[in-house]
């Protein structure tokens, strides 16, 4: 395998993997706080769930773009 191709594949792997680390920590924190919130005030659960989804969507955006570009690097 030539050098450029190898570097390209490492870049793709770093893009997919690095994004996954970040989003794992982020979504973990959000979900932990969500569980704490419904343990304290179960009646707020539907409202908090919407907020959880919004927060997760916000955190999700950048890693998912890096995943898409990483896959593009790895397979084309």
């Amino acid at each position: 395998m030539e050098e450029a191709e190898a570097i390209r594949r490492v870049a793709g792997a770093l893009l997919t993997g690095g994004g996954a680390i970040g989003v794992g920590i982020g979504v973990g924190l959000i979900t932990a706080k969500y569980l704490e919130g419904i343990a304290r005030q179960p009646e707020l659960q539907p409202y908090l769930f919407t907020q959880l989804l919004i927060g997760m969507g916000l955190v999700d955006a950048i890693p998912i773009v890096s995943l898409a570009i990483g896959l593009l690097f790895l397979f084309t």
Binding site: Y47, T50, L53, I54, G57, L58, D60, A61, I62, I64, V65, L67, A68, L71, L72, F75, T76
Partner: protein, 305 residues
Amino acid sequence: MASKELNSTDYIEHHLTNLTYGKCPDGTWSFAEVHGKSQVAGTEASCNISEMGFWAFQVDTLFMSVLLGMGMIFFMRRVAKNASSSKPSRVQNAVEYLVTLVRDQVQDNFTADKNPLMGPLALTIFVWVFLMNLMDLIPIDLVPWIVNGFAAPNAEGGAIHYFKVLPVADINAPMGMALGVLILIHYYSIKNKGLGGFLAELTFQPYGKWMAPINVIFEIPGFYAKQLALGLRLYGNLFAGEMIFILIALFFGGFFSSVTGVLAGVAGLALNFIWAVFHILVVILQAFLFMVLTLVYLQQAHEHH
């Protein structure tokens, strides 16, 4: 079946290429040329997509998004015309549920002054983005195969060789919608706060008016990055989803040739099913998020300080 062998890179590239109609550097308008051949059989192509620059229309994106938008409008109009309070049909119940869901979100997230545009705007965004996202669940080779006259993409003859059925996997559609929201935010900010108020919000926070140059450096990128992220989030999610469907489709390559090919095909079927089920969540969630974030940003445009 095919006149020349397709390898997996060609296959992925084929699925990521839009049917493009645009202006070539020599001033003529034509479909794009890919690998030395026009995208539509029987037409002359004089340049490839990257040479077109600004004047390149993604015909498949435009066609699919306008088709889905018009379909939505006529469907909703028909339901509203035939609505009856004494004998609601099943379709009417479904649409009423949808409208109620959107209305509750508008009331929760948009607490500023009454603005009658917000409800219809939120409903349009939600249903339109949802329908465009839903195109991801159509088997990825089905529509390209149909528009190519029921022939494999690399076969001789055929009709339209390139067609991407998922409009949101092309960056132009989500960024266009985000641009629409950005224009609305500017309009309502200036209308409700005045031009001075809007500029003051961007320059006098967070450190007071004597630090205005530093405030601008903090505020302007934040303000526009939100809009950029709004479009990129939708694009990224659906593009990644589409990409994984394409990769799973590579499993079916050797289905008719060997035992391992059949095994890979069965594994591909299972993977396809699992990813499609997971993707239903993504499809609804991204449409919902786009709507809620639009409402939240427009709410900020209406707030007075």
